[in-house]
Amino acid sequence: MNYDLILGILNIVLISTTPLVFAGIGELVTEKSGVLNLGLEGLMLVGAVSGFISLVITGNYFYSFILSILSGAILSSIFAFFVLRLLTNQIATGLALTIFGIGLSAMLGKKFAGTPINGLSPYYLIIFSFILVFLINYILYKTKAGLIIRAVGENHHSAYALGYDVIKTRYLTIIFGGVMCSLAGFYISVCYAPMWQEGMTAGRGWIALALVVFATWKPWRLLVGAYIFGGVAIMQMNLQAFGVKLPGQFFNMMPYLATLMVLVFISSNKVRLKLNAPSSLTIPFIKD
């Protein structure tokens, strides 16, 4: 075994894990404020397709980046309006967002599937993902803004009684989560692949959701968890390289199996989960 191989594997892990970090950290902040957004997969796909299309049309990475992020902000604010103002069930609304996002991205991207583009180097966003986790950790635990987010997620009635605007706080965290998802999508279609294909996120949105549980809502653990998942996902190549013979489908199952096993492991400790989960998660805020 040589160092080139190890470095090569590490490089691939680094490149393939970053979208999980973006989507996961966005969802973590949203959930910290007490809202569960199950629409990650849809948001990522729309972010991916809008970044891709705008790059094909304008040829400009900056415009592509902005438009991608904008798509996430718009879609997630629609989600926010439904769950915060119309008090809809967060789980069902998240599913609606996913289905809508899958359809919308496929519809918009149909003409562009297979169009070749010059991908953007992934390393800018990889570096940014590390800075982001550091920043979010700092904001959540060292600033008053973060304290307010945690307070709103813990007990929205108390937060409101103290004069905090629960709805506004949640709008902001939901939109932040949406922007992070679209950034993950942008990364996949413009930096990682780089191409557009229907459903190309392949369940990463759902894995990111599981990561938040795995991390027990702590940013650093989310980063570690994402890299463990990234490592497992890449293991297929490893094992194949080392001559392990198994049908390809079983290697492809690994990320999903790993997610499942980790979920089982983490959630079986009810007390720990209860201590860490935001107490208002999925409960709509109704002023009396």
Partner: protein, 350 residues
């Protein structure tokens, strides 16, 4: 000024009217999408919603699509009433097709009249088996069923892929990822010769009637509703929540498995990769749009089946991607959930 006031008790009229409001809003936003695509909304809607069912063949196709959707949605309604979010019906459908289809392939040269019933039995067992995994993980390890049932869907699709590419590949199939066709004894009879609509429709109607009875007249149905409203109240009543979780998962898995085996033994006739155009996910919308009521589910399954047919026609005649069907489905669910606001709150203009 707009003032919002909580209703003292929810109105059942609005409860059943809100799906219609949601459909109207979807049509409105749908026409905006058509306008955006430079198409005449009226012409497009004709192609989308009227064209597909303007002949007998189209009506038969509507049943071909609506039957699995309704069947899965009926099963899901048990879970959803119980406040259990099984969103892995697509995987349970796949496993039903794989188990039942496996029987069909094992006896590929059989002419026995018992072949089809055995396939159907194994299909429902396969679906129920796959659904039992998230159920047991939930009751024994407190694992979130949304994520586990979804992960299992991805896994099920890969298992199917393994079989049709590997051991079950048709030896005479030029290396294509398809199984050999089932024998005639393993094919589901059609309702009318020359049309694809099959006797799965009867199963769907029987299960709908049975579910209506169970939900409204039995203690089991009552337990589901109590637990769905409040798991604490259910414990107070002495109902065993864990058993309810297992039962509802098994029922919905079996229904999805049935839909799976009906698909492969009916219109498809063999196993291959893409046996379901996302029926398992779309059925979630069918269940909600039908208000978890068996009659409502039948109606909404026909409507959503139409979006499938319409999307295919739209791709053919309007040159717009068939994914527009999912856009409509997502919109209808959004608006349905939103319209429930009117059920809980009164909007007053001052």
């Amino acid at each position: 000024m707009i003032k919002i006031q909580k209703r003292n008790s929810s109105s059942s009229l609005i409860f059943y009217l809100s799906p219609i409001v949601a459909i109207l809003l979807t049509l409105f936003f749908g026409s905006l999408i058509f306008l955006f695509l430079d198409l005449s909304p009226i012409e497009s809607f004709k192609i989308f919603f009227i064209g597909p069912i303007s002949n007998w063949y189209g009506l038969s196709e509507l049943l071909v699509k609506a039957s699995p959707l309704a069947l899965i949605a009926l099963g899901l309604s048990y879970c959803f009433k119980n406040n259990i979010y099984n969103i892995g019906a697509e995987g349970q459908l796949t496993m039903g097709a794989l188990f039942g289809g496996g029987v069909g392939l094992f006896f590929y040269d059989s002419n026995s009249i018992f072949l089809l019933p055995t396939m159907i039995l194994f299909g429902s067992i396969g679906g129920a088996f796959w659904a039992s995994i998230p159920a047991i993980l939930k009751t024994n390890f407190n694992t979130n069923e949304i994520l586990s049932s979804l992960m299992l869907t991805y896994i099920a699709l890969l298992i199917l892929d393994y079989f049709v590419v590997g051991p079950w590949k048709d030896p005479t199939g030029y290396g294509l990822p398809k199984s050999r066709p089932f024998s005639d004894a393993g094919r589901l009879p059609v309702l009318v010769d020359g049309f694809r609509a099959h006797i799965g429709v009867y199963f769907t109607i029987i299960i709908a009637a049975l579910s209506y009875f169970i939900f409204n007249k039995t203690l089991f149905g009552f337990k589901l509703r109590v637990t769905g409203f409040s798991s604490r109240a259910s414990k107070y009543a002495g109902f065993r929540n864990d058993n309810l979780i297992i039962y509802t998962f098994l029922i919905s898995g079996a229904c999805a498995g049935l839909a799976g085996i009906f698909e492969v033994s009916g219109p498809i006739g063999q196993l291959y990769r893409d046996i379901s155009p996302n029926y398992g996910f779309t059925a979630i919308i069918v269940a909600f749009l039908g208000r978890l009521n068996p009659i409502g589910i039948i109606i909404s399954s026909l409507l959503i089946a139409l979006t499938y047919l319409g999307a295919e026609d739209a791709q053919l005649f309007l040159k717009i991607p068939s994914a527009v069907g999912f856009v409509f489905q997502g919109l209808v669910l959004f608006f349905l959930l939103g319209a429930d606001f009117l059920n809980k709150y009164r909007v007053l203009l001052k």
